[in-house]
């Protein structure tokens, strides 16, 4: 009995700490929003960053941080955090709208890419696609097991299997498309101008200059460089200090 009491005491204590932490994060978030409203965009960005340092990762935090950076004339970081917000909350109208808007201020046009069949794959996050596909998979197997055990050929069981199978395929396709797009990491150039070199050293030839906000796929990572694939098909190497991974 004593043991049980101790267990519940510790659990309550942990819950209280967690709740207090969450409450503090909400307070900081609101304070940052207030600074933004007062046009103190740098101050707002610092508070949002502080939340990130504390381990908070929500689409709203990324979205607001992107807005603060855009107002501070840091287009690259704005795009970076909007892309992170989009990853956590695909299909969010506000995120998509701001992403389109901010991308108009980049020097390199048309650099934003979308997942394949975005109208479909943007409906859920990768985790949500996986969760619902797993549930349907479980249900489908459960129905098949019932069919095997009871040797039932009733219409209910048969139609249930078909329905669960189709839904499972639908969700599995969504999961696969989303996964195949997300498995290749994306990056954004944060420097005003970044040289895209032909190799991962300073003395390699500069193929072209990418500008702040240009997005790319990260093919490989070396100590100081990312190997990147630009939207126009050009491959090259960009210094890590001039870019960031989404």
């Amino acid at each position: 009995m004593k043991k049980l009491f101790c267990f519940f005491l510790i659990l309550s204590f942990l819950f209280a700490i967690s709740w207090g932490k969450e409450n503090a994060a909400v307070k900081t978030f609101r304070e940052a929003n207030r600074l933004y409203d007062g046009q103190n965009y740098n101050g707002a960005a610092q508070l949002y960053e502080k939340l990130m340092e504390e381990g908070v990762r929500t689409p709203a935090l990324y979205y607001n941080l992107a807005s603060a950076y855009f107002k501070s004339k840091e287009t690259g970081k704005s795009i970076l955090y909007l892309l992170r917000a989009r990853k956590l909350s695909p299909g969010d109208e506000d995120v998509e709208g701001n992403l389109r808007f901010v991308s108009q201020f980049t020097l390199d046009k048309g650099n934003l890419t979308s997942p394949p069949l975005a109208f479909f794959t943007d409906q859920l996050t990768l985790g949500q696609w996986a969760f619902w596909a797993s549930i349907l998979y479980f249900l489908l197997i459960g129905l098949i097991c019932g069919r095997i055990w009871f040797k039932s050929r009733t219409l209910l069981i048969r139609s249930g299997i078909w329905l669960a199978g189709i839904l499972f395929l639908f969700l599995a396709c969504g999961f696969y498309l989303r996964w195949s797009w997300e498995k290749v990491p994306q990056g954004v150039i944060l420097a005003r101008e970044a040289a895209v070199k032909s190799g991962p050293r300073d003395d390699f030839v500069t193929q072209l200059l990418g500008h702040e906000g240009l997005t790319f796929q990260i093919l490989e990572e070396r100590e100081d460089y990312y190997e990147v694939l630009l939207p126009n098909g050009v491959k090259g190497w960009v210094k890590k200090e001039e870019a960031a991974e989404v």
Binding site: N64, S67, G97, N98, S134, L208
Partner: protein
């Protein structure tokens, strides 16, 4: 053979030397040395001599004159075995200010030599200070008296026109005598006009002053380019007419071949009078914004080549404008495309017609619109405005607008080399507002224990179901196995029931005990145990290698139950319990021997 070669060479060198030795004259002359502001003079540079190729002369020290080249003419004559050419370069000079100016010298390069003309002094007076000296047209008396065997006249179809409106200039050459060769016509200088040649009508006959003249016409369509008083210069016709006096005046012993071949010919240079036109400016009232200076009467058709396109793929409007007017000077229609489009004139072609001495025709413009981003857009109606001089009003023509669907993604600027995007989306002009709630963090389900559990568990479940179903199927298909397996379950249940029924009469109690034992034997060995004799049961147990002790105990127990059932024996409670315990022992032993 050698001799013939050297002879030929000598002859060639002789002619070459003769040709080089021939003098070449280069002179300059003006048609007037005094003129007023707004007037113009013609500077003629004449090169004569045995010259085959002549380049363009260079004019130096033109003073404050605007210079317009107005043509070049050449005349070649053969005289005394010598070919002589006379080439005349004409320039129209328009003074820019009042004063006395020196024109020239002009230079010409011929055969490595530089020929130079003398300078000419010209005085430019203020406008209106020089009395007009226009040649009077021939009077009827002159014509009747035969003084005018040839004459020229010039006219325009109207004396007051709008800027860019067509005026038709006609020069008529009247001849009442035969000509020795084709007349040489020099068109008038038309500074301040856009000029288009018109087809020459066939010559015809006219009666003037009772004399029959053959009339040749030259027509030009002129489009004034600026408002104000404009002058069409004089045209000249040079011709050779019959001169009977020369037949009698010539030296009969002269060896002048030129005189021989041109006997009876007299050269005449005829000049038309300059014509003044009043050019009206286009009205500024109600002038459309898209007016580009077209004057005449036009129609327009607009054809779009597609309604759907991709980003960066052009959609083209073919704009056809046709009618009467100076089609060559038609500018492309002004079009204001949406900001996310690039617009350019991709092609244009024209066709000029001269029907009924009216310049007209058609011009086709192909205007391409290149979308920069996907979406649905309305490309504006192509509009074209012109001034109709007949009705003195502006007319605006309009094509149909295009609802265009653009697919694809936004274009990537070539080379990332600092191309600035100038157009911003008109749909969103600022960031969307902040999110008010921090929201919850989403757990990354992929790769979590729950994820793998949900992947693995169904497989385990499926495997277990398949295995258990197979076991069940085997049981259900093998009767002996099923009965054998069921035997122990049933006997345990039977023992419990008998234990619970200890208060029953002896007959009933022992009947149940016997039934339970026989059912057990039947299921255990898959036989019909009911009705078997003691010997048969003993044989069955022996066949299944049951121990002697157990066999005796079981047979003894069966005897006991028979005794209780049929002999009226009333066993005590202890005896009943002993029998039940014995039955339990037998069954336990048999179960243990499986």
């Amino acid at each position: 053979m050698k001799k013939a070669f050297f002879l030929s060479l000598a002859v060639f060198l002789f002619f070459l030397a003769a040709a080089v030795a021939q003098d070449v004259n280069f002179t300059a002359a003006v048609d007037k040395d005094k003129l007023e502001m707004g007037d113009q003079l013609t500077l003629s540079l004449v090169v004569s001599g045995n010259v085959q190729r002549i380049g363009d002369p260079k004019l130096k020290n033109i003073g404050d004159f605007a210079v317009y080249a107005s043509g070049r003419s050449q005349n070649i004559t053969f005289s005394n075995g010598v070919v002589t050419s006379t080439t005349q370069f004409n320039y129209v000079l328009v003074p820019k200010k009042v004063g006395t100016f020196s024109i020239g010298p002009a230079e010409l390069q011929i055969g490595g030599k530089t020929l130079t003309t003398a300078s000419i002094m010209v005085t430019v007076l203020p406008s209106g200070s020089v009395p007009k000296t226009t040649a009077p047209p021939p009077t009827e008396t002159e014509v009747r008296e035969g003084l005018k065997s040839v004459f020229v006249s010039a006219s325009v179809d109207r004396s007051k026109v709008f800027v860019s409106e067509q005026v038709t200039y006609t020069m008529k050459f009247y001849q009442a005598v035969n000509l020795f060769d084709n007349p040489e016509y020099t068109p008038p200088s038309v500074v301040g006009f856009w000029k288009e040649d018109l087809p020459q009508p066939p010559s015809h006959f006219e009666m003037v002053g009772g004399r029959r003249y053959r009339v040749s016409e030259a027509k030009i369509a002129l489009f004034p380019t600026a408002a104000g008083s404009q002058t069409i210069g004089e045209a000249t016709v040079k011709c050779k007419i019959e001169d009977f006096e020369s037949y009698f005046n010539r030296d009969p012993f002269s060896l002048d071949l030129d005189q021989f071949f041109n006997r009876g010919a007299r050269e005449r240079v005829l000049r038309t009078s300059p014509l003044n036109l009043e050019v009206l400016p286009l009205p500024e009232n109600n002038q459309p914004d898209d007016f580009t200076g077209a004057v005449g009467k036009y129609q327009m058709r607009v054809d779009w080549n597609k309604k759907t396109t991709e980003v960066n793929q052009p959609v083209t409007a073919k704009v056809t404008i046709w009618g009467t007017g100076n089609v060559k000077s038609l500018a492309e229609p002004k079009i204001t495309a949406p900001p996310n489009f690039r617009t350019f004139l991709s092609a244009s072609s024209e066709r000029v017609t001269r029907e009924g001495n009216k310049i007209g025709g058609g011009k086709i413009f192909e205007i391409s619109f290149v979308p920069r981003e996907p979406g649905s857009f309305e490309l504006p109606a192509v509009a074209f405005s012109y001034f109709d001089p007949a009705n003195r009003k502006y007319v605006k023509l309009k094509g149909a607008p295009l609802n265009l669907t653009v697919t694809g993604t936004r274009e990537l600027a070539g080379g990332y080399s600092g191309v600035t995007q100038k157009e911003l989306s008109v749909r969103q002009s600022d960031l969307r507002y902040l999110k008010k709630e921090l929201g919850g963090e989403s757990v990354n389900f992929v790769g979590s224990p729950g994820f793998w559990l949900l992947q693995g568990l169904p497989l385990i479940l499926l495997g277990a179901t398949v295995v258990l179903r197979r076991v069940r199927d085997k049981e259900e298909s093998d009767v002996s196995y099923f009965r054998s397996k069921r035997a122990s379950k049933m006997v345990k249940k039977g023992l419990k029931e008998i234990f619970a029924a200890s208060s029953l009469p002896a007959v009933e109690y022992f009947s149940r005990l016997q039934k339970m034992l026989l059912d057990y034997l039947g299921d255990r060995y898959n036989v019909a145990a009911w009705g078997m004799t003691k010997n048969e049961i003993a044989a069955l147990l022996e066949a299944n290698t049951v121990g002697e002790e157990i066999k005796s105990s079981l047979l003894e127990l069966l005897d006991l139950t028979d005794r209780a059932r049929f002999s009226g024996w009333q066993p005590t409670r202890v005896e009943r319990n002993q029998a039940l315990a014995q039955a339990e022992e037998v069954i336990r032993t048999l179960e243990g021997s499986r």
